[in-house]
């Protein structure tokens, strides 16, 4: 089934299926779909080797719109199904599409285990802080006090942090993007794809119908620069200002409280010594960055943590290869007739 002739380069539109996209007009999912298709084109992914798996929810409709293999499964269980796919064929390039309800509520358990096992999956968690497909109930990422059909007096439970959860579960790659950032998001997705193991990208996605402008307090043009920080490995953690001024503020660690705090940069953008340099292999720093919430601190975007470890499916394949004394997947070494005759037997004449 290997292709021998090189394929012609594919454009983003070549990764679109023939199905009509059925999200609400103005939904952030359109932008994410576009970013995903651009990522596929930029990476020249082979559609035949690529599988999009999803659970249930608005986000989980995405596989229908991709001209790859796609499996729209059941609520919350996509990580388990994707794990099975990788167990059977580790060579497949598996993308997992989930949402805040699908991935963190009904499927929180499966997501936790896919992350801690480090199954080689690219997990895109669309977080719109609301249940869209069931018409607007609050979700596990909704902020306290969210008024919804099921919480007319405001929600009481505190929200879960997608990235905090992922780091707690032992994820080796966590990143964050925003649906409309069509330059930054594909770059983040490419990093996630390059990471061997489970990579979780939280994509903040605007639900125009049930939770419009949930992220406006840091995505509005007027405040974006001051309330977003695009982190990059090896670069100082600076943000603010505009194209002309360059960054005007930085992040440093208050060594007394062990919390991050904002400091102004010096004249001409000079970076003080105590401004932190992003180290994406530093899990403690990742935790601090992931937890930042505007307006006190900027929201962290980009690759927040990346510290590769052996992928589960690769290790399973290695165990199998050792057992069959050859490549895996590959021919089986054990002889079944011998197995049936192992142990104590007796002959009846």
């Amino acid at each position: 089934m290997n292709e021998i002739t090189p394929r012609a380069p594919l454009a983003p539109k070549d990764y679109a299926s023939d199905q009509e996209v059925r999200w609400c007009p103005g939904c952030g999912d359109y932008a994410i779909l576009k970013a995903v298709q651009k990522t596929c084109a930029d990476l020249a992914l082979d559609p035949a080797q690529t599988v999009f798996v999803s659970g249930i929810g608005c986000a989980s409709r995405l596989p229908y719109y991709m001209a790859t293999y796609g499996f729209h499964t059941i609520h919350g269980r996509a990580p388990a199904i994707a794990t099975g796919i990788k167990l059977a064929n580790p060579a497949l390039d598996v993308w997992l599409i989930t949402g805040d309800g699908d991935g963190l509520s009904i499927g929180g358990n499966h997501l936790m285990h896919a992350l801690r096992r480090n199954v080689d999956l690219n997990i895109l968690l669309f977080n719109n802080e609301i249940y869209g497909l069931t018409k607007g109930q609050y979700s596990p990422t909704s902020r306290q006090g969210t008024r919804s059909p099921s919480t007319p007096g405001g929600s009481l439970d505190r929200p879960v942090s997608a990235l905090g959860f992922a780091l707690g579960a032992g994820a080796r790659f966590v990143a964050r993007g925003i649906d409309t950032q069509q330059k930054a998001l594909p770059e983040t997705l490419k990093r996630a794809h390059a990471h061997k193991g489970a990579s979780l990208v939280e994509i903040l996605q605007n639900c125009i119908v049930y939770n419009d402008d949930a992220f406006a307090h840091f995505t509005d043009r007027a405040v974006a620069a001051e309330r977003q920080i695009h982190v990059e490995h090896g670069k100082p953690l600076v943000f603010g200002g505009d194209a002309k001024s360059g960054p005007t503020r930085g992040l440093r660690l208050n060594t007394r409280t062990l919390a991050l705090e904002v400091v102004p940069l010096g004249e001409g953008g000079a970076v003080p010594d105590d401004v932190l340099v992003h180290d994406e292999t530093n899990r403690v720093l990742a935790g601090l960055l992931a937890a930042m919430q505007p307006p006190e601190l900027p929201i962290a975007l980009g690759v927040i943590y990346c510290d590769p470890a052996p992928a589960y499916d690769v290790q399973v394949a290695e165990q199998m290869a050792a057992a069959v004394e050859g490549p895996w997947p590959g021919p089986v070494r054990g002889n079944l007739d011998d197995l049936l005759r192992s142990g104590a037997t007796w002959e009846v004449a």
Partner: protein
């Protein structure tokens, strides 16, 4: 030939069959002892059936009744179909073991007890106010007391073990005694001990010394007059190579065999649950045979990973017991909807809820056949005996891959643990059924069906040109794209049912296991009731009655001739270890006045119970059924 206890009194006649039960603390090694006795008995040419009976608690406090572990074996020179209604020889290592197992012993049966263990502390823990070995309460039995602990300690003294390690050889001492009683060869157990304790030769030597000492004691001591050597002749068996096999082993190997015959990989995804876990353990050791095993985070993840594996071109298999199957239900609906092969093993246990985790039951038939939301048919098979699990597993794989459907394979707690001799088949005897994955993009439509099987093509990710999307939302009958069209949903519902119904044309017609093919009474069974029903029917026919035994492997779809076959009998009786499930299915499907015989006690039917129920049915005129007899909800004829 007398069957057992009567012959135990007869000084000359060989025994046709006997039942021995070893019982002691969880830590007394009763399962190992029983396993060795079973192996030696098989090597002596007897037919046999074994059943371990252990507590749900892992290591209950020593000496307590709830910590008693037992192993029962029935063996004989005739075909052995059950583990026996009553015990001929009970070996007890402490008072608690006697307390728990005494009710199983035949009146006049032999009890061999370690007198040293019947001391005040142990008696108290077992709830005995006085010592039953001395207070006359065992007058209805023959009792042989031996200072087993002391004699064991003396026999292993040369090997310098501590008291605790020395006492752990007690089971071998007891085994030696029982070996003498049934004229068994100690050689295989000696070899086994040497292999087991290869790195601790002093332990091997001590255990062998204890085994020999028990044997020598029996040979030389002044035993009660009616304790002697009993001979059990070899059973008649077809020529061939044999082994003992548990239901779990046969099932595991059958799944591997099925995947090889289908020429695809096997990905087994499971979550620990009693009594299904042993299947995961067995398959986890078969990586060399291409088996990938995955211990998932929960039951749902286990079935979902198996579905993912099937989607990717392997045979996904998951296993559980009733409560776990309940959790898998939604995912089974997905597998039915997207039409992927899947084998689901249900080792049934007592329920509902946690119920009786270590006890057997067959009460998940409704769950298997009907237990999903919406019209969601799948195929259901049931295993009848430990060795039968091998062929059933192969058949499950064949149906799953040929029809692109989940198949539920029902076993139970008894079958999972029980063992019997098995004439080892050769894989050459099985016709391969290789899967043909779709590779041709020309004219590929994901839900276009094979006109004969109604199965859709299996198009696996990684195949160039076949990219497509599937999902749980209703699919167009052709493209597989999302379709909310009313006519399409009606059509798809009908075709999903027709596909499963059509399997009936691809399975053997139902045969009659024994007895007439029409007449007064047919006994219809399924699953592990095979042994007791078969023996009960055989006995009644030998006594001049005319009773047929029909035993189903295919529960859904039912064999295509079953309705006509059942119509040929005046009365149909359905014994089940549930409150009346197959009987309801048969009545619903065929409008036959079938009657149930129900036993829901966490243990198999006894032959005597079934014979009583059959005789009762024979005594009544046809079509006159007692109130509620079809499900026997009022009393349970055999409870």
């Amino acid at each position: 030939m007398p069957d057992s206890h009567e012959a135990l009194h007869d000084a000359s006649a060989p025994l046709e069959a006997a039942v021995v039960r070893f019982a002691g603390d969880s830590g007394d090694g009763m399962q190992l002892t029983g396993g060795q006795f079973a192996l030696t008995t098989a090597l002596a040419g007897n037919d046999l059936a074994t059943f371990p009976d252990f507590p749900a608690e892992i290591r209950a406090p020593a000496g307590t009744t709830y910590g008693v572990s037992a192993f029962q074996i029935r063996f004989g020179s005739r075909r052995i179909k059950t583990i026996g209604d009553q015990v001929d020889v009970l070996v007890v290592m402490n008072p608690a073991a006697l307390k728990v197992n005494l009710a199983e012993v035949k009146p006049g049966g032999l009890i061999i007890a370690d007198r040293d263990a019947f001391e005040p502390r142990n008696l108290g823990k077992a709830g005995y106010a006085t010592n039953p070995l001395e207070d006359g309460s065992l007058a209805g039995y023959r009792v042989m007391t031996v200072d087993m602990t002391r004699l064991t300690e003396e026999s292993v003294a040369p090997f310098g073990l501590g008291k605790k390690a020395a006492d752990r050889c007690k089971n071998m001492w007891a085994l030696g005694l029982v070996y003498w009683m049934f004229a068994r060869d100690r050689g295989p157990t000696v070899a086994w001990l040497k292999a087991k304790f290869a790195s601790q030769p002093e332990l091997a030597d001590a255990n062998i010394a204890a085994l020999n000492a028990g044997h020598a004691y029996a040979e030389t001591a002044e035993l009660p007059a009616d304790v002697r050597v009993y001979h059990v002749e070899p059973a008649q068996a077809a020529p061939g190579l044999y082994r003992n096999v548990t239901g779990t082993e046969a099932l595991a190997w059958g799944l591997v065999a099925g995947a090889q015959l289908a020429n695809i990989g096997l990905t087994f995804c499971s979550y620990p649950i009693t009594p299904a876990s042993a299947l995961l353990h067995t398959l986890a050791r078969l990586k060399r045979h291409g088996v990938v095993t995955f211990q998932a985070e929960d039951e749902i993840a286990a079935v979902c990973a198996a579905i993912g594996a099937s989607y990717a071109g392997s045979l996904g298999v998951t296993s559980s017991s009733g409560p776990g199957i309940a959790l898998k239900t939604e995912a089974l609906g997905l597998a039915i909807a997207v039409e992927l092969p899947l084998v689901v093993v249900n080792a049934q246990r007592g329920g509902p809820s946690t119920g009786l985790p270590t006890k057997t039951e067959q009460s998940d038939l409704f769950q298997a056949v009907f237990g999903r939301n919406a019209d969601a048919p799948l195929a259901v098979l049931a295993v009848r005996s430990p060795a039968d699990a091998f062929d059933c597993a192969i058949e499950a794989v064949r149906i799953a891959t040929k029809y692109m459907t989940p198949v539920m394979l029902l076993t139970d707690g008894y079958l999972a643990n029980a063992a019997e001799p098995w004439r080892i088949p050769s894989m050459q005897d099985y016709a391969p059924f290789p899967v043909r994955f779709r590779t041709d993009p020309e004219g590929f439509h994901p839900f276009v069906r094979d006109p004969e099987t109604l199965a859709r093509a299996w198009a696996v990710p990684g195949t160039p040109g076949l990219m497509h999307r599937i999902g749980g939302i209703e699919r167009d009958h052709d493209s597989g794209n999302i379709s909310y069209d009313p006519a399409n949903h009606h059509r798809m519902t009908k075709v999903r049912a027709a596909k499963i119904d059509g399997i009936a044309n691809d399975i053997p017609e139902q045969t009659v296991d024994q007895g007439p093919t029409s007449g007064k009474l047919a006994v219809v069974g399924w699953g592990s009731t095979y042994g007791p029903i078969s023996r009960a029917v055989e006995d009644l026919n030998a006594e001049g009655h005319e009773v047929a035994h029909i035993h189903l492997r295919h529960i859904w779809p039912l064999p295509r001739n079953l309705g006509v076959l059942l119509a040929g009998y005046e009365r149909v009786l359905v014994p089940e270890m549930n409150n009346g499930q197959l009987v309801t299915l048969l009545r619903a499907e065929y409008l036959v006045p079938a009657e149930g015989v129900s036993k829901v006690a966490g243990r198999p039917f006894k032959i005597g119970e079934l014979k009583d129920a059959l005789l009762d049915a024979l005594a009544r005129p046809p079509h006159v059924t007692p109130p509620h007899a079809h499900a026997d909800r009022s009393q349970g004829a055999a409870a």
